[in-house]
Amino acid sequence: MSSDAPVVIHARHLAKAYPLYKDQGAWVKQALFGRFKTYSRPFWALRDIDLEVRRGDSVGILGRNGCGKSTLLQIVCGMTRPTKGEIWVRGRVAPVLALGATFDQDSTGRQNVLIAGAVMGLKRAEVIAKFDSIAEFAGIGAFMDQQLKHYSTGMRTRLAFAICAHVEADVLIVDEALSVGDAAFQRKCLDWIDSFKKQGTLLFVSHSVDQVRRLCNHTIWIDNGRIREQGEPHRVIRSYVQATRDERDDVRRFSAADV
């Protein structure tokens, strides 16, 4: 990691508990009387994460399902609040999370670009100015004026990535998104990420260790809400691959624990 660049993401003892409720009634009680009593048991998705990312870093995040990867990214984006610990983030964050899931099915691609741009904090004039460039990057031609429900999954991914590529973010967050596109589009995205890395910061989650190896200069491996190993990609990837081969799929992994 480059040590002289300013810190962009700083996390200390970060922990996140999702409340698990017995039934719907407990939810309502929590909403009405939550200030006086807690009606849920916590599920600790993140237990203790220390992280320091500097400008220009590309951090690959590895881990099995439910280890807390996505929760960590959601906290960095500001979509959800950590329960304990401290986090701060400098600069504009562009989350390419679950690409295409946020699109509105009944609107056209064009309208969705306007909505997504506004959601990401772009001014309307900025979005309109970048429109042609977005359409060209997505490369879906006349489908731009069709309703989203007529899109294939690949087209949706293309459009979503094209929007994110035009946000001019300081921190780009890519979450298992690239697996949907075809090989040519994946290459286009990876090339774009390569050029983005020259000035921006990247957080990259993928189950493809090859992509992590190609894009990242630092890798962290999250296991059960804690950082199990971090450092140089080759070394971390080796122990990660080794561990996934040796460890059995733990059926009790998603059960809630007491504090």
Binding site: Q24, M79, T83, A101, G121
Partner: protein
Amino acid sequence: MIERPEHQTGHSDALLLHVIDGESVIDGNLGPWAVFIRFLRAPFVSAYRHRDLIRVILKRELDERFKGSQAGWVWALTAPLLALLTYTFAFGGSAVLPNKTSAKSAYDYSLFVFGGLIAFNFFAEMAYRAPSLLQEYAHFIKQTLFPAEMLAVISTLRASAYAGIGLALMLAAQLAFTGSLSWTVIFLPLWAISFMAFLVGLTWFLSALGAFTRDVSYLMMTIAPLLLFATPVFFSQEVLPPPMDVLIYGNVLTGFVEIVRDLVFFGRLPGLAVTAWTSFISLAMFWFGYWFFNQNRANIADVL
């Protein structure tokens, strides 16, 4: 779901997110008075910051209502027009108004009812929609940095577009049937703003609660039709025997119905007590709703 200061354009070192133990500390330590002022300003600051988003989502909502229909907005005009015509035929013969004054024309009672219904339908549209509003937009709220608190504003603006059509029709009918409009209609914008503030607050409250349980939705579907008869839409609060003539103001809609009717139909200024009470209800609901939504904001994204 977390409040963040305005995005800086281009690359910047602005601190956009700083949370310690679940509390946002982005503004440093403020005194209690400053915190209170910031809270009062917060909904307006947020609305201004997200004005482009409000615009694009509102346009989508308005388009969506008549998507796939050929006549489109004609329907928005047809429904209240038909209602007005129906009342005219049904109640046209009434020579005595519900407040015991004699009717000036054969259309008076229908205008009287129509005025009340504009206010009530405005409320009803929000009451039906608010509990499921956040579910409607769950994909936005869960997966993007969507300012969920603006949904109440957007949906109220959408409903006010239809209420506005009804009101315009009422003014036109009043003019056509009686030949003149009272000068008091210039206060209608004030009425509209306070009613909208009330409804935005109500929507914040109902939508936050509705995110946790569907029961809120069923509850509103059950009580809203009954509320129509507990609100002086078809009758006048003036003819109620004491103590009901005062108790009826416990139904917060009474004031709004009475004021719009005073301004347009009777052409007089509403009473001071009613105006004060209704303004209080409107402001109190607005900030209570915002406070309640904010309290549950962190949980909403997790339970949707």
